[in-house]
Amino acid sequence: MPLDSAATTVLSFSPLMYNLYTDCPMPIYVLSANQISLQQPLSQDWMHDPVLPTEPFTRSIDPDYRPYVSPIEARRMGKLLKRALATSIQTLRDTGIEHPDAIITGTGLGSVESTEAFLLDMCRNGEQLLKPTHFMQSTHNTIGSLVAIQTKSHGYNATYSHKQISFECALYDAWLQMRTSAINNALVLGQDATTPNYYHLFNLVGYDGPEMKCTCGEASVATMLATSVPEGQTPLCQLRGVSLMHTPDNRRVAAALERMQVPADVVVLAGYNGLAANDVMYDRLLADVLSQAQVLHYKQLFGESYSASALGFYAAAHWIGSGQYRQILLMTIDRSGDVALTLLEK
């Protein structure tokens, strides 16, 4: 039985005083990245002809799913599962990797459509006659498991559900495992849907609202990371590093930037959304630790959601891939002040 032989070597690895960001010669390539969002699905049309959202809540544009899943199977799946499957299968096709070494998902709320259906049914109609399908699909790791089941991938499978940095947590796991040679490639997903009810609930607690300068949206992203480039392919960019910090002070973020060797004039892709409580955190941090950086925004194009930063990653990868930028630092600060830094470069 062929097993992941690389995994067995991990514990003998002696990394004391080792800087994974700079000392490891092994590059990690972003081979492909695909999205379904409020922009044209599974395309990069937004780069020259973007959809401009006008409503405070904009759902994703669903593509024709028939190239990815049979209509019979699709009928049993919620929207998010179909989107996850389509973005994943397209990414696997782009790269010719049928069975990735790892499938790692980030999702803030999981299949919230199914969760809500089960919850509402239970709250309104009591605890009898509930439907198993809604429950099965409500579990957060249904998304990554579905991709594994459909592609018969027995490799490492994990799901992170950690607020608005769920995608970066998934990326971090993939990056750690590649840098320690435990795996050679990973399909990394950022997947979140927003239901109309959840849009209103987020309004209630000030997570979005009329004063937000971008729409509340949905995000489905799949990307393939690999330590080598298959013949005949051109990677979009390289992933240099991921750093996750729980409510850090600015000094700690500065130290992380130094460890990642981020230049002072880096291009920062930041998660500004127009809400004062959100934007002030970026303003304060950037002014203190990256005052010379050129700052770009992405949520005006893709909307705000738990996995919005996955779309930021996707956009940055394609901007570098198309030659518009040489290096981009994706910066995400979640509502409690956690900071995620992701460095991509040519």
Binding site: M1, L3, D4, A7, T8, V10, L11, F13, P15, L16, N19, L20, T107, F118, L119, L120, C123, R124, E127, Q128, L130, P132, F135, M136, T139, H140, N141, T142, S145, L146, A148, I149, T151, K152, H154, Y156, N157, A158, T159, Y160, S161, H162, K163, I165, S166, Y172, D173, Q177, R179, T180, H200, L201, N203, L204, V205, L244, M245, H246, P248, D338
Partner: protein
């Protein structure tokens, strides 16, 4: 080398390691008719932690006006015990990470208040008449927020993250923590999981028709389903050099781990146990353990008709028909879902420290003639112990502990 320098646990069989050890020794299970959870399914047998939210909050010194979810209350109880044993205080946490596993998160409050939320959303106003504004529980609903509630009540961790792979969540938290130490990211990572009972998942499991109305009988030919449980447990993983420099006494060594996907079905295990087989194989290869060296397996053993034979088949593929001593401890606690991987890891650590194999409660008749679990807690020296945790989606994990440190 990665050592375990602290452990904390709470489940239906007790608050803390001392009560837990006594229960495991004396074969006192904690599964009983539902008492604390407000549900129509009064017929259900569950493994509840024997404290109400109010009692938990009071014991832990949590303010009455703070929006708190049961998952986090259980987590705080176990995390504080683990940190105390490892000799860590607030100041030590800034260079320590917390990897938490949960799936229920704050669902226990969401299911109480969801219709109120929707009414409030319709009226576009916040109800603030109660002690805790009900809408505050919208903020505590998601898994990551319940992790931060746990973390921030114990100090200020350098990093927090949340794994949500259903019933293997806490086992996968152990794996990520180990990788972070191996990669040189942290010298110390606290890992584990927390999960409260909720009406949501009790009913979910009920719709899947895998709940037994009687005490569950894992690994038994007459098994008819699982009992749900709740709890939390954490392990302090620490790089050997750092732990020894601090002079802390290690409990055990993390010798190996594995995770693989069964890639068969969202809620059922394959008949050949492919995912479980791979996970155990990986863990043993990493530890350099031969099948004959494993002294005990704490099985996932939920007691469902589907899980147990699949797991036994995976074990047969690894060990042949002469299996190491094994038991499922879910007869004690019920299936503590996302927390089970770390709760049962703590059971394994206690078993190693106190030289015993905990009983597989309620066993009478084997599923296969070659698959007879340890029916009564007994004395045994344990050098290598394997602990299995499998989740929905065929997410199968195994961790391997060694007594030599």
């Amino acid at each position: 080398m990665i050592l375990i320098t602290g452990a904390g646990v709470i489940s239906a069989i007790g608050i803390g390691k001392e009560q837990t050890l006594q229960a495991l020794r004396s074969e006192q299970g904690g599964v009983a008719p539902v008492h604390y959870l407000h549900t129509e399914h009064k017929e259900c047998m569950v493994g509840e932690v024997k404290e109400s939210n109010g009692e938990l909050a009071e014991r832990l010194g949590i303010a009455k006006d703070e929006a708190m979810v049961r998952t986090s209350l259980l987590g705080i109880s176990a995390l504080r015990e683990a940190l105390a044993q490892a000799g860590l205080d607030h100041a030590d946490l800034s260079d320590t990470a917390l990897v938490n596993g949960t799936t229920v998160g704050g669902m226990d409050q969401s299911e109480k208040h969801y219709l109120e939320y929707l009414d409030a959303a319709e009226a576009n106003q916040l109800g603030k008449d109660g002690k805790v504004p009900v809408v505050d529980y919208i903020r505590t609903h998601d898994c990551g927020s319940s992790t931060d509630l746990i973390a921030d009540h114990c100090g200020r961790f350098g990093m927090t993250t949340t794994i949500s792979t259903a019933c293997s969540s806490a086992a996968n938290a152990i794996i990520l923590g180990a990788r972070m130490i191996e990669a040189g990211e942290y010298d110390r990572v606290v890992v584990g999981g927390a999960e409260s009972l909720s009406k949501f998942h009790l009913n979910g499991f009920n719709t899947l028709m895998i709940l037994d109305q009687s005490p569950c009988r894992p690994m038994d030919a007459t098994r008819a389903g699982l009992n749900l449980g709740e709890g939390a447990a954490y392990l302090v993983l620490e790089r050997a050099e750092t732990a020894l420099a601090r002079g802390v006494r290690p409990l055990a060594r993390l010798a190996g781990y594995g995770n693989a996907c069964d890639a068969y079905h969202q809620t059922a295990s394959s008949s050949d146990g492919e995912g479980a087989f791979r996970a155990m194989q990986q863990a043993m290869q990493m530890a350099g353990c031969k099948p004959g060296e494993i002294d005990y397996i704490n099985c996932h053993g939920t007691g469902t008709p589907n899980n147990d034979p699949s797991e036994l088949e995976a074990m047969r593929r690894v060990f042949g028909e002469t299996l190491p001593p094994f038991s499922s401890t879910k007869g004690y606690t019920g299936h503590t879902t996302s927390a089970s991987g770390s709760i049962e890891a703590v059971f394994c650590l206690l078993a190693m420290q106190h030289s015993m194999v905990p009983a597989n409660l309620n066993f009478a008749e084997p599923i296969q003639p070659w698959a007879v679990p340890i029916a009564h807690t007994r004395q045994a020296q344990l050098r290598y112990v394997l602990c299995n945790a499998f989740g929905f989606g065929g997410n199968d994990s195994a961790v391997l502990f060694a007594a030599d440190v």
